[in-house]
């Protein structure tokens, strides 16, 4: 008399083959199509990392913040088109922004705005990103609160990318 272990009953070869074709073969056929569609997609320019901002002469008003300041460092973190810019000056004004094409716009993050008197309140940043691999540069302007005349042009260059630090 044969002793069977019910745990080890095997499905028929035909059933397995049909299931394999349906559940493995068909999805695998879809993979090249997914990659073909994906080749048409574009991602925002990579600007995450450590940046150095070189400031131009700011506006016509003598009381413009950062008057006389030539260079400021900043850290940019990025998730797709969403960016966060933290300036390493004073109490570190923080801007949140977004990328569209090669352009970037950022505005003050109210919760992290410095309230220390005399510390600059950056309201807005607009820039165009130049994507020259591997270097990235930006040119644009910073607008400060309280004085519409104080629009400070800047040019920025990336010294260290966030991908390099992750690796």
């Amino acid at each position: 008399m044969e002793v069977k272990h019910p745990a080890l009953r095997q499905p028929s070869i035909a059933r397995v083959a049909a299931s394999y074709l349906l559940l493995v073969g068909l999805p695998l056929l879809a993979v090249p199509m997914i990659f073909k569609v994906g080749r048409q997609l574009s991602a925002p320019p990579a600007i995450g990392g450590e940046w150095t901002f070189r400031l131009g002469s700011s506006g016509s008003s003598a009381g413009c913040p950062w008057q006389g300041v030539k260079q400021i460092d900043a850290s940019i973190t990025q998730a797709g088109p969403d960016v966060r810019i933290t300036f390493k000056a004073g109490s570190g004004p923080v801007l949140v922004g977004w990328l569209w094409g090669q352009g970037m716009e950022g505005h003050r993050l109210a919760a992290r705005s410095p309230t220390v008197p005399g510390s600059p309140r950056i309201e807005r940043l607009t820039a165009m990103v130049q994507a020259r691999d591997p270097d990235r540069t930006m040119e644009g302007s910073l607008s400060f609160a309280a004085d519409a005349e104080c629009e400070t042009p800047f040019s920025a260059a990336r010294s260290f990318s966030s991908q390099q630090s992750a690796q």
Binding site: H5, P6, V16, S19, Y20, V37, S42, D82, A166, Q167
Partner: protein
């Protein structure tokens, strides 16, 4: 007054730590990681979760998700970015040893008795999540990546990381719940074993594809080198490994000389795959896979490596992964919705795919669901794949963090769902039933 004292204490601690030598800081880091991972692991085992889940969570708590957020100065003192390379080196040694043990523990006998069902279920449980990952990549690539990541590499890695099953964690869960000898236990172990081999082959191809697209060496040449390496391992090194079994049989243990030689071969294999443009985990895995298979020998070698690897070195790997995981970045930037999409898709594709395949092989609904739950366990293997992806620049840090959350969620849910499907008493009586010979 209190604030002044506290600030001065922190300042004093900071000054002392700033004067630490690198060796001192590394020892401090190792001590902190081991302590936290043991404590959190113990807490998780109290709620019937595998220790490894607690260790993974402990690593995350030490990173920017908690310590770096609550006490950034202390985090910067204990884990400054400049010192992490030493920790990474140690954790990679642990990873190499662990992957060697994984390769060593592969047992084709587990597959033989359930071959047809295991291959079908395993491959379905990989292909469907892989496609789900690639489809999700279409949606999240323009939203979470940037142009330093190619879509192909991004989608391949999303697919690979969605399709993996954590064989060691699964085996541990089955053992703890007394399900290892049950029908579902033996089949899920067989499926996970097939998953492991297939998964590492797929991952090797993915890594090779990504690195080849950036390397100066032509891709075909890299392919030839990889094939030459595989042939060297199978036809030169594998026959040589019989020496270790002969030494073990003659001496009832591995001599120190033989053990040292084994470690040297392991390191050489890992270094070779790293040099070839794959990753060192593949060399370590293959070295383990080609070792002799006698149960006593395997058990002896695993015992030699296990304590140091599992207790000391692997938690460092979890710690390093945690230091790279920034959940606050996910929440703070409103990326939680993408996290939810990824977690739901990962569960649906893996659990659902395994369930459907198991039903097609004739399994009952309850057992098919249980198998799907087990195959959905991603745990440590997911972390390994994600770290490889981050290191080779296939995925950005935000995606890494979300996928770590996914790994945690899918591993964490395994035990409670299994307990619902197989309360301990039912498992024991089912086992006794299976052990009775059934006469045809």
């Amino acid at each position: 007054m209190r604030d002044t004292i506290l600030r001065s204490e922190v300042f004093f601690f900071a000054t002392e730590c700033a004067m630490m030598s690198e060796g001192f800081r590394l020892l401090l880091q190792v001590g902190v990681i081991l302590m936290i991972s043991r404590v959190v692991g113990k807490l998780f085992s109290k709620i019937r979760q595998p220790q490894v889940v607690g260790e993974m969570v402990g690593g995350i708590l030490l990173g920017p998700s908690l310590l770096g957020w609550v006490a950034p100065r202390i985090s910067n003192i204990v884990f400054p970015a400049s010192s992490l390379s030493h920790l990474q080196a140690l954790s990679e040694i642990g990873l190499v040893l662990f992957m060697f043990m994984v390769g060593l523990s592969l047992n084709s006998g587990e597959v033989n008795s359930n071959r047809r069902a295991a291959v079908l279920i395993s491959h379905v449980s990989m292909v469907i999540p892989f496609c789900a990952g690639a489809l999700i990549a279409l949606y999240i690539y323009p939203r979470m990546a940037d142009d330093s990541y190619s879509f192909k590499g991004f989608a391949l890695f999303m697919g690979a990381s969605m399709s993996v099953t954590a064989f060691p964690v699964l085996a541990r869960i089955l053992t703890e719940r007394n399900l290892l000898q049950s029908k579902i236990g033996s089949l899920s172990i067989a499926c996970a074993a097939v998953d492991d081999v297939t998964g590492w082959c797929v991952l090797a191809y993915v890594v090779f594809t990504i690195r080849a697209s950036r390397a100066a060496t032509p891709a075909y040449l890299m392919g030839v080198e990889a094939v030459a390496y595989a042939l060297l391992m199978l036809f030169v090194v594998k026959p040589f490994t019989c020496y270790f079994e002969r030494v073990f049989t003659a001496n009832k243990r591995l001599t120190e000389h033989a053990f040292a030689l084994m470690v040297l071969l392991l390191l050489a294999s890992a270094l070779l795959t790293e040099w070839l443009g794959l990753h060192l985990v593949f060399g370590a895995f293959l070295m383990g896979a080609i070792m002799p298979r006698s149960p006593e020998f395997v058990r002896h070698v695993v015992e030699k490596f296990e304590s140091l690897t599992v207790v000391v070195l692997l938690p460092l790997f979890f710690g390093l992964s945690g230091l790279r995981t920034a959940i606050n970045m996910v929440v703070g930037q409103g990326l939680w919705i993408y996290a939810l999409i990824i977690i739901v898709a990962a569960i649906a594709s893996k659990l659902g795919g395994s369930l459907i395949a198991a039903r097609l092989t004739g399994m009952a609904w309850k057992d098919a669901t249980g198998l799907g739950v087990l195959m959905n366990t991603r745990g440590l293997m997911e972390l390994i794949i994600l770290n490889v992806g981050l290191e080779i620049g296939a995925i950005p840090t935000t995606v890494f963090s979300i996928m770590v959350l996914m790994a945690l969620a899918t591993t964490f849910m395994t035990c409670p769902l299994l307990d619902c499907l197989y309360p301990a008493g039912v498992a024991k009586s089912a086992e006794r039933e299976l052990q009775k010979p059934q006469v045809a």
